[in-house]
């Protein structure tokens, strides 16, 4: 009888909660104590039966013997694991809603040299894709514009917030597509001569733009230094490239084919700039050169077919591991939008095919945090860092594993999305087949 009453009370409470949620449940914040967990810190080993305290959006304490502040909401994590939130290092999340519909695509502005087009401006905080992604433990993503030579400025965002500024996670980088020198595929019907001509022209064009940016930057610096009262003409392209050529802002160079990677290494040489190579699908062919040049890479998708028909079938899986073993700093991306939630599986395949579990975990946590210069906040579980993390019942790379809780900057994220809501509504549909 008593249990019946309990059930009714629980159901009533659940009903109230459901009603009050409306369209989307809100995240909540406060002081949390995550107790009895296996804490995988990434940078400082694993803490067994540990406690992690969240207050003011930060990890205020972490360890095996931690006192719980009064008033903290306690979450018993017995049998569960705490990991830092996973960081996607290259996607279109927030910049597109429905892939096939150009009206919802905001990642490809018109123009060849448009670094001033800022991803952060176009990020839609209320995109349906965001809750779908974050409930999988991917809490942070670099979202990037595409197309042309200089595509725009990418932004690192946390996947919670109501304005782009609330979501901004502290890094922006200019995106460049390195000119391709090879044939682009079977459908490419240009002659070898034409291909060479096009490649030379593209590289000459890049160098011209770069020289202009250098000139602009020098004039700008001189004006500032000598306090001259003239102003440079409005030139947002060059104004955006100026900090890049000065080495103050990171340049993300998309480059994939082996010859192009080599050419890009040469191009970067002597420029004294901050560079990350992205894509790098044939990095395995030139891993030594990449390591020697000390250029870090963001590679992916891992779940991809080889670039050339004759390449060994598992090259995309093995690529990250081969580069890492050669000494290259490797982060992993999905290069996706709606399925950025598969980031742990891209990392998992890389782990299986040579990168190893530990390095693969780093490739989606601390390494991207370091590359983006936000490792004082993200990428590992340490006292004082942002409380951006997730709690799972196992290895997050395994598909069997369920993510139980997600926190982004101390916000306890509702574990629901369009996908879970449709599941809740339709698993046992009412009415069923007969009305």
């Amino acid at each position: 009888m008593k249990s019946m009453k309990n059930i009714i009370l629980t159901l009533a409470a659940l009903f109230c909660v459901l009603i009050s949620y409306g369209q989307n449940a809100k995240a909540t914040t406060g002081t949390f104590a995550l107790k009895n967990a296996t804490i995988v810190t990434v940078t400082k080993g694993t803490i067994n039966n540990g406690t992690l305290i969240i207050s003011d959006g930060k990890i205020s304490d972490i360890g095996a013997n931690v006192s719980i502040p009064s008033g903290a909401k306690e979450i018993d994590c017995k049998g569960l694991y705490i990991y830092p939130g996973m960081i996607e290092s290259g996607s279109r999340i927030g910049l597109v809603e429905v892939g096939s519909d150009p009206r919802t695509r905001d990642y490809n502005e018109i123009g060849e040299v448009i670094p001033q087009m800022k991803a952060l401006t176009a990020v839609n905080p209320n995109s349906v894709l965001i809750p779908v992604t974050r409930v999988s433990g991917v809490t942070t993503a670099l979202t990037i514009p595409q197309g042309g030579l200089f595509s725009g400025t990418a932004a690192l965002i946390n996947l919670h917030g109501y304005t782009p500024d609330q979501m901004y996670a502290g890094f922006e980088g200019v995106v460049m597509n390195f000119p391709t020198t090879g044939k682009r595929g079977r459908w490419d019907r240009r002659s070898e001569e034409d291909i060479k001509k096009d490649a030379d022209k593209a590289l000459a064009n890049l160098n011209k733009v770069w020289d202009n940016a250098l000139a602009y930057s020098k004039i700008d610096s001189t004006i500032t230094a000598q306090k001259v009262s003239t102003e440079l003409n409005y030139n947002p392209e060059m104004a955006t490239l100026a900090p890049v050529v000065k080495g103050e802002q990171t340049l993300l160079i998309e480059v994939n084919a082996a010859n192009d990677i080599k050419a890009a290494i040469d191009w970067v040489k002597g420029k004294n700039i901050k560079v990350i190579f992205t894509g790098v699908s044939e990095g395995w062919r030139v891993a030594e050169e990449l390591a020697e040049a000390k250029i870090p890479v963001i590679t992916g998708p891992v779940l991809d077919t080889p670039n050339r028909d004759y390449d060994k079938y598992d090259r995309p899986y093995a690529n990250a591991g081969i580069m890492s073993k050669a000494g290259v700093t490797v982060a992993i991306r999905t290069n996706d939008a709606e399925n950025v939630r598969n980031l742990p599986y891209h990392a998992g395949f890389a782990a299986t095919y040579g990168l190893g579990k530990e390095e693969a975990l780093k490739a989606v946590t601390i390494i991207p945090a370091q590359l983006f210069g936000v490792d004082d906040q993200l990428g590992s579980l340490e006292k004082g860092k942002s409380a951006t993390l997730f709690i799972s019942d196992g290895d997050p790379f395994e598909t069997k594993t369920q993510i139980k809780y997600v926190f982004i900057e101390g916000w306890n994220i509702p574990m629901e999305s369009r996908h879970t809501k449709l599941y809740d509504e339709f698993l046992e549909r009412d009415p069923g087949v007969k009305k």
Partner: protein, 454 residues
């Protein structure tokens, strides 16, 4: 003259017989594996003996017959070859996008045994795929079920001999875009798509009637009439009405899925498999009641508007409602790790290991009408086997051997680093294919890429 005809016929029959036996069958003994039979549970430390291409025995300590290849599967997992019910690999053309109805064409006429995707699928443990026509037309072409035998130039060698006939239908945005949008003919809407089916079947019924009348009249003495005109398109539609062809229908929204079941009920057609069927979960009880099957993506959604209201829990909802469900690839990339795609149903819906594995083995076999031959490890079935390092539903799984009809088609230890059969001395420029290729290829008039996928 008559003798010559008979001789020709005999020669032809000999040729056919030679073709039928040209496909290699092998002998393999797989020792001490953890055998995931799918239909008879998990057997530890068990051997599987494949003799002359068929599973001859499953049991403990089977003695190695002399001359048979022996594979030590200690610590490894042995499962049936994976089956993909929706694929476009090994095809030199996919869409006959010239009319809303092209039932007369057949992808079996466009097989490309040299496609490297066959080998890559093998490297993912996949032994059989359904070489489907594309989704440009409401009634597209007939399709072919292929066995992944690599290293042949003969398209006959990759057919799965004896597999039932199948045909591709398509609903929603693709046929309405290509025909109503592109050519200004019906269908432009989902109403038009239904009308195309109804008028096609009505016409086919009239065609059958004409032939029935003619055949009945012909038997009568003094008959002087002429036979009706033979029409391959109508013959094919008639075979659908007779239940001789399994319909595989590209579909997304619940309303259109429901519509096709109503049309099929009216015409008494029962063999129906929905492909993609992203909103199948919304009408899962109706699908179960009709007996329609569902072949879905693990998690693809949102690439177009008609899949915006999707859920990755689709497969689990369908399976829990009693719909025979499979996970497919529709992609030369995804086909390489269908075991991983099936694993996602454990994240999205908590399916058990066996339930998840059925989605890529016996269930797609049922959807292709070949479940008496493949899809589980049972004595008498085809010797199609995949052997994994680690459990196939683990992210750490690595396919080590893939066996088709007792022939080892993939062996990771002996996998070549370079698949080139011969180098091309003229090729000095790298040919690399990148992610942005998709956008270019869809513009290629020879390849309606966008229509083959999704």
């Amino acid at each position: 003259m008559k003798t010559i005809n008979k001789l020709t016929l005999a020669l032809l029959m000999l040729c056919v017989a030679t073709l039928a036996t040209a496909q290699k069958k092998g002998d393999v003994l797989i020792k001490n594996g953890t055998v995931l039979t799918i239909t008879n549970g998990v057997l530890e430390n068990t051997d599987v003996w494949i003799k002359d291409g068929k599973i001859a025995k499953i049991g403990k300590s089977i003695a190695a017959p002399s001359g048979a290849k022996v594979i030590d599967a200690s610590g490894k997992y042995v499962m049936p070859g994976i089956i993909d019910a929706h694929s476009h690999i090994a095809l030199s053309s996919v869409n006959e996008a010239t009319s809303p109805v092209t039932a007369e064409v057949w992808t079996g006429d466009a097989l490309d045994p040299l496609d490297i995707s066959i080998y890559r699928a093998l490297a993912g443990g996949v032994t059989i795929s359904h070489a489907l026509h594309g989704s440009a037309n409401a009634i597209g072409g007939q399709s072919e079920t292929i066995k992944h035998r690599f290293g042949t130039v003969d398209m006959e060698e990759i057919r799965m001999e004896g597999a039932p006939r199948t045909i591709k239908f398509a609903l929603g945005e693709n046929p309405t875009r290509v025909h109503g949008g592109g050519s200004g003919i019906v269908p432009r809407t989902r109403m038009g798509v239904e009308a195309v089916f109804r008028s096609s079947f009505a016409e086919a019924k009239q065609y059958m009637q004409k032939w029935d009348t003619y055949k009945a009249a012909k038997k009568k003495k003094g008959f002087k009439g002429e036979a009706p005109e033979y029409n391959l398109r109508m013959e094919t539609l008639a075979d659908i009405l007779r239940g001789n062809i399994i319909v595989h229908c590209h579909s997304y929204r619940a309303d259109e899925i429901y519509m096709l079941m109503q049309v099929f009920k009216d015409y008494g057609i029962k063999k129906l498999v929905f492909q993609h069927v992203n909103e199948g979960f919304k009408v899962a009880p109706e699908l179960a009641e009709f007996g329609a099957m569902a072949s879905v993506f693990a998690d693809w959604w949102d690439y177009k508007f008609e899949v915006y209201y999707s859920t990755a829990y689709n497969a689990a909802i369908l399976a829990k409602n009693g719909v025979t469900t499979s996970i497919n690839s529709d992609s030369e990339e995804l086909i390489r790790h269908l075991y991983h795609e099936a694993g996602k149903t454990q994240k999205y819906g908590g399916l058990s290991d066996e339930e998840a594995l059925r989605l890529i083995t016996i269930n797609p076999a049922k959807q292709l009408g070949i479940e008496n031959r493949v899809g589980s490890l049972e004595v008498g079935k085809d010797g199609d086997v995949a052997i994994f390092e680690n459990h196939p539903l683990s992210i750490y799984a690595v396919p080590m051997f893939t066996i088709v009809d007792g022939v080892v088609e993939f062996d990771r230890e002996n996998d070549p680093a370079d698949m080139r059969i011969y180098p091309d001395p003229k090729e000095t420029i790298d040919v690399t294919l990148h992610a942005d290729e998709e956008e270019h290829r869809c513009m290629d008039v020879h390849d309606n890429y966008l229509l083959t996928d999704k």
